[in-house]
């Protein structure tokens, strides 16, 4: 039985329907990647799981429990943490405070403490007392990931963590993923960088205009299949 499942997940922004019934499954220990063009609904998908967007009560199941009616704050406490698109660190807080705030919703036991996060991203320890906005893009992304980890999530949702970053920085960040997985966290990655997504994931889902257009193991998918699914031909 999957750790995290979505069943016929629909999502609306007011009158506008962003997701049309998405079925996905994440097994414990897995890493899945969500790819798709802009506006395909990838971010909305993560937000729906995290509880920031209205969705049907039984459309998201965590450990077989329907969590669609739960608030975002509750969902973090259950063990699902979102690294939001654009990092969105708290500007009034310094780096360390940002990380500590991440632990506000910590209910589960786990390995992620301040020290553990600092050992994952040493640069953050160097900059611990700096105001969050003064960090570079890559460092902010690391801080955002660290912040999400502080709640000891069983599932980590990452929304476009490579956005706007130089390739070498992206590589640095992705280098941390294996350690995160090793600590027992399952990961859902929304990525524009298809190559990167394919490299690290066990399964890929492609979204196209709010619908699933493709799913499969990276090794088994051809370039053509991905292209068609991505652009919707």
């Amino acid at each position: 039985m999957a750790l995290l499942e979505t069943r016929h997940l629909k999502a609306f922004y007011g009158d506008f329907q962003a997701l049309y019934g998405i079925d996905t499954a994440l097994e414990a220990g897995e890493t899945i990647a969500i790819i798709g063009a802009n506006g395909a609904g990838k971010s909305t998908f993560l937000k729906a799981i995290a509880g920031l967007v209205r969705r049907p009560a039984d459309s998201v199941l965590f450990d077989r429990l329907p969590i669609g009616a739960r608030s975002a704050a509750d969902i973090v406490k259950l063990g699902i943490a979102l690294v939001p698109e654009g990092r969105r660190l708290f500007p009034s807080l310094d780096v360390e405070e940002n990380l500590l705030v991440g632990a506000h919703g910590r209910k589960l036991a786990g390995p992620w403490t301040l020290d553990r996060v600092y050992s994952l991203f040493p640069i953050l320890k160097e900059r611990r007392s700096q105001a969050a906005p003064t960090l570079s893009g890559g460092q902010q992304q690391m801080a955002a990931i660290g912040r999400a980890l502080m709640s000891n999530p069983r599932v980590l949702l990452c929304d476009e963590i490579s956005l706007g970053l130089a390739p070498i920085v992206i590589a640095d960040i992705y280098a941390a993923l294996p350690q995160i997985k090793a600590e027992g966290t399952s990961v859902v990655l929304v990525e524009q960088d298809i190559a990167q997504a394919m490299k690290v994931s066990d399964r890929v889902y492609c979204f196209q205009e709010g619908r699933l257009s493709l799913s499969g193991r990276p090794r088994e998918l051809t370039r053509e299949q991905i292209h068609d699914a991505y652009f919707g031909t």
């Binding site: 920031l52 975002a72 704050a73 708290f90 807080l93 705030v101 991440g102 506000h104």
Partner: protein, 289 residues
């Protein structure tokens, strides 16, 4: 010369009272961007609560405020949770109009309960006690306590905001409500807690309001304006700024009163408008908005 020095001292002491008025307003705006138009009336309400407790329980007001504080915390918590949380959102109008309606209700409710008669908190000898500073200048003990309490309140608020997990939650929620939820912060409870805390500050402000001068159900709106002016002059986002703003206002009013007693309040308003015209962000702004 003594006259001028005396005016300055009295002005600073008065500023302590205004800083107390303003601290609660500043706290609420800092956490949830809510400007509570009923703020002044709530101070008056708190003063009446202290009055009743002092009377019924035979307590000195300084003791009565200790009893009143948790009661007021609960009222503030409930008010935010039940009513004001529902008004918060992108639209400016609901919180403004709901708190305006609240202001009218509180004023008239108090009028019904207590009539328009002036009241005063009585504390015995301390009311008239003063400390001689030499040179013919004396400081009233109550005004001095007011200023010291204002400083203490601001120190404690700063401690809470910058040294505790609760304060981190306050600042995070104020920065980005959506992402704060992703941290497991229940913003409804956080706002309610902040409001409860503000109500405790309001209780302290009410104590000194009632000790220093007479109060009746109608004086709320004027206190709101002073509190507001102190916050703006001091600069948004800084509690020490609020203290500075209160003192500037106190000085303006006191000096104006020395020129002509009828000009006291007007002087305060004019200084406020001047500061607004020259330095719209206030004297010591911190907030990013």
């Amino acid at each position: 010369m003594t006259g001028a020095l005396d005016a300055v001292i009295q002005g600073i002491l008065l500023g302590g009272l205004y800083a107390l008025f303003a601290a609660g307003l500043s706290l609420i705006f800092g956490v949830m961007r809510l400007v509570n138009l009923a703020h002044g009336d709530l101070i008056v309400l708190a003063a009446f609560i202290i009055l009743v407790l002092a009377g019924k329980l035979g307590l000195d007001p300084f003791m009565a405020v200790l009893v009143a504080a948790p009661i007021l915390f609960a009222i503030g918590f409930a008010l935010q949770h039940v009513l004001l949380n529902r008004t918060l959102g992108r639209d400016l109008l609901p919180p403004l109009l709901v708190t305006f309606g609240l202001s009218i209700i509180i004023q008239n409710g108090l009028l019904q309960l207590f009539s328009a008669d002036s009241e005063r908190l009585r504390s015995g000898a301390i009311e008239t006690a003063s400390i001689a500073l030499g040179g013919g200048i004396a400081i009233g003990v109550v005004p001095l306590l007011t200023l010291l309490s204002a400083v203490a309140v601001i120190v404690i608020l700063n401690l809470i905001f910058y040294r505790t997990a609760l304060g981190r939650a306050f600042r995070a929620t104020s920065d980005d409500l959506e992402v704060a939820q992703l941290m497991g912060i229940d913003h409804n409870r956080i706002f309610a807690t902040a409001m409860g805390l503000a109500f405790v500050v309001i209780a302290i402000a009410a104590l000194y309001l009632g000790l220093r001068s007479n109060f009746d159900p109608t004086i709320g709106p004027a206190r709101l304006l002073y509190a507001f002016e102190a916050v703006i002059v001091g600069g948004l986002g800084s509690f020490w700024g609020t203290l500075a703003g209160g003192i500037v206002l106190g000085l303006a009013q006191t000096i104006g009163a020395r020129i002509d007693p009828e000009w006291q309040i007007l002087s305060g308003h004019l200084v406020f408008l001047i500061v607004l015209a020259i330095r719209p962000r206030g004297l010591f702004p911190r907030a990013l908005d």
